[in-house]
Symmetry: C2
Subunit: 339 residues, 2 copies
DNA sequence: CTGAAAGCGCTTACAG
DNA sequence: CTGAAAGCGCTTACAG
């Protein structure tokens, strides 16, 4: 039987026997926290390599070591944005020997108990709908938490990581861009949500939009509360028919911006001449629509890098921090034909 | 201190004390595998509810119970197709009290050792590039495995789950559809891969395409080996300039189909009049391109349901099966303007 | 320098 | 019917 081919559970005991040492020695070699005679160390290392041994993660975690699992909570797993982000994080996590567990943001009260089971070394929260109250509980329980700042988290106290992905500034820049092109009647298209969660002013995209509109003394219109693309189209139809015709549309994400763009086009308006449209996330959609869609890009690679870096810091030296870790990232606007 | 608010680690011991019973009793109540006097059972159940107790998953798993974690290996985490699928699976998994860990298909030899650590109750493989050899090893080690049949897995033996998502039949239908519209010079656009993994005839989409072309005695062209969208565009440019102009294009997925469509349009060809285009996966992209893209849809909800159902069967009664579990799903073609 | 032993939080065979 | 005890695979304080 070739041990390389046949998968069976190798335990520390197997290694001890194979290397002709005590089980204790094996542990110390693995953890590197005690001097072990060179000769023994070699034998153990060889045995580990030969038998393809990996210490049982669960047994280690039970003894207080890391589980090497990180939980990622997202409110829009389906979206291309999270797909890319998760993909980048996965790559980084893999080299750090971590696994990423992905979970939608379930709303029931039991959820937080379920994720707080000492199982995860840390939790990344990329969801606008996770209750602040529960985030605070997790932080208070000293679980390493990294927040993607989709909304305002300034009320959260304690030690945690905060990644400002530039949504607020990016949204302001959208308004600025539209304004500079002479657009004055701006329309914001909020998320489509079948679970009934829409943005409020805690949401950085919406807040950036309204704040910058205030700077210019504009009175923008916000379309919110839609639970499907068709509903959004219908609402726009009604709105434009009723006499209000915007000259600039900002969609909370590319998909929504494009639904808006198509609705306007169907009603005979030209993009960008009559109505300019800008999206968010710079997904693949932007390149295949016509006109192609101008969009704000979040630098996922950089976000992913920061997420992992912060998480590793919090996991490895959480006790050495006294306040939250913060990082501010920039977005960039990718100009295309829709503006 | 309100125990509902404060998150601390509650162990079986806490429950035993709270309920005034032995720790053993607590275990038996949780596992329901021994009669416990009604009165005691009640007390224990109340204590569990009051303290929000959840047995430590790792300790249970160490004793041979389930870890309630399933690993999902995908070769294209970024893609919208997997996003939707994962999202559906997550919903189902959550109600079954499972977590889904997501992992790209890493190519190093250590990968299989890493995932085989008794940590995962089962593994779903949705990747065309995971070596058959390693799949077989995992199955031989009696880990519940569910394969999404992206390629031909008929050589894999033993007990496992196989979900045929209808890629082969769907691809044949694409050819049939194009043929019925009078298209005879068909072009297949293979995946874009930066890691250098392209399709061979193990791949059901490609095989369906070529098989159906044979039925009609067509001599199709296949464009493969591109590592970026730009490279694919360039290749198409060269191909069409050199005199070969297809009248039907089948893209391995929507994105690739659209890259092909745009390249043709840039060269002055009309879609669908000169060249018809069909994609795969029916992603959001299809609805926003112009012309909108006809595409083959895989019923993700149904795939997700089958994945979880099979996985649960394999985990709970794996010993009672003697051969692989199979299910065949249908795709449907969503007709739009590109054909 | 190094081994035997306690213990992480559980499950369940074993012995009352 | 039910409790004390062994043990899952580890880590590391404790005692040589």
């Amino acid at each position: 039987m070739d041990s390389k081919k046949d998968l069976r559970t190798i335990t520390r005991k197997d290694i001890a026997i194979e290397a002709g040492v005590t089980e204790t020695i094996v542990s110390y070699v693995i953890n590197g926290n005690r001097y072990v005679k060179e000769e023994k160390r070699k034998k153990v290392e060889e045995a580990i390599a030969r038998l393809n041994y990996r210490p049982n993660t669960m047994a280690r975690a039970l003894k207080g070591k890391k589980s090497n699992h990180i939980l990622f909570i997202a409110d829009d797993i389906k979206g291309e944005y999270f797909g890319k982000l998760i993909s980048e994080i996965d790559t980084l996590a893999y080299t750090e020997d971590y696994f990423i567990t992905l979970c939608a943001d379930h709303q029931d009260e039991d959820f937080v108990n379920r994720i707080y089971s000492k199982f995860f070394d840390g939790i990344v929260i990329g969801s606008a709908s996770f209750p602040l109250y529960n985030i605070q509980r997790l932080i208070d329980a000293h679980i390493p938490i990294v927040l993607l700042e989709i909304r305002d988290y300034s009320s959260i106290t304690g030690v945690y990581g905060l990644i400002n992905t530039g949504l607020y500034e990016g949204s302001r820049r959208v308004v600025r861009t539209l304004y500079e092109r002479g657009k004055r009647k701006l329309l914001f298209l909020d998320r489509i949500s079948s679970s009934g969660v829409w943005s409020n002013l805690d949401d950085w995209r919406l807040k950036g939009f309204t704040d910058q509109c205030s700077v210019y003394n504009l009175e923008p219109v916000i379309v919110s509360g839609c639970s499907s693309e068709d509903e959004l189209s219908a609402k726009l139809f009604d709105l434009l028919s009723s006499g209000y015709v915007p000259d600039g549309i900002f969609g909370r994400n590319d998909q929504i911006a494009l639904v808006g763009m198509q609705a306007c086009q169907k009603m005979g308006y030209k993009v960008p001449q009559d109505i300019a449209v800008i999206g968010f996330d710079n997904t693949r959609l932007c390149r295949f629509s016509s006109p192609t869609l101008t969009s704000v890009e979040i630098e996922q690679k950089e976000v992913a890098r920061c997420v992992m870096e912060m998480m590793m810091s919090l996991i490895d030296n959480s006790s050495s921090f006294e306040k939250r870790l913060e990082v501010y990232l920039d977005t960039k606007m990718v100009m295309r034909e829709s503006v």
